[in-house]
Amino acid sequence: MMRENGTDQAQDILTLRGRLSEIAELAPWIESLALRHTIPPDVQFAIALCLEEVISNAICHGYGGEKEDRSVVVRFIAPRDQYIVFLVEDEAPPFNPLDAPELPPLNPHEEMRIGGQGLRLLRRFAGTLEYEQMPGGNRLRLGFSTAGSSETASATTDSTDHQVT
């Protein structure tokens, strides 16, 4: 894990190696950002939830398991107009989570399905989501409003508006 703090405070960067145990670094990093930028607890929760889902998905599925030689980079862009942004960049094959099918919620009429909730939670808890395919990887831009609930915001892809509520 590596952390960088830009001197102009425009960005904070957390670099995680391709291991699930590295995700433990997220909580103190988010807490540190929350203290410095007065991020409300419910928004902190949403950020932690979404980043954990995106990073674990990159490691488990994008990298096909833990890969020491690959990394996931998370960039925090300082708040502007009560809006904060995280960029998650991986080195995995192209995967646009906005295009991926979402499994239905659990319901009492079917056998309880174990798993398959990550995408649903990401779409519900991120304020906005934008996907960009990068040379050799993927970039997902996650936006969160610090002014109120992020639940009703919308998300966009690089090509198509995509409502995620």
Binding site: L26, A27, P28, D42, A48, L51, P105, L106, N107, Q117
Partner: protein, 122 residues
């Protein structure tokens, strides 16, 4: 114990209540590491108890792996004819439970007596 969203620290304890009810007390974060830390114990409980109350009052965070840690034992308990209820999630944790639909298959209660009554009807 205090915990942050996504923090790996979690504690699990059990308490045997009257009427064969097992109370499982979780305290901490049910992120990836927290879920992995309680998985085995939760499955052991699911294999030996028919009435389980999972106390979430002190769970600060839950992600998709945390949901798995609840759904897998719940399914095992239900398949053996037992019952499981969730008790006392905070607002954010409950939002995750509702977003996933888990609240439609595992009852969520905020009143302890109501939660216990739901289990006593086995």
């Amino acid at each position: 114990m205090q915990s942050r969203p996504g923090d790996k620290n979690i504690a699990i304890a059990t308490e045997e209540l009257p009427d064969g009810i097992t109370k499982v007390i979780l305290d901490g974060s049910l992120g990836i590491e927290g879920a992995a830390a309680v998985d085995l114990r939760m499955n052991v409980i699911a294999g030996s108890s028919k009435a389980v109350l999972v106390d979430l009052q002190n769970v600060s965070f839950i992600g998709s792996m945390g949901l798995r840690a609840l759904v897998a034992p719940a399914r095992a308990i239900k398949n053996r004819g037992g019952k499981i209820v969730l008790f006392g999630p905070n607002e954010s944790v409950e939002k995750v439970l509702k977003s996933s639909g888990i609240d439609t298959v595992i009852p969520v209660h905020h009143d302890l007596q109501t939660a216990l009554a739901a289990l006593q009807s086995i």
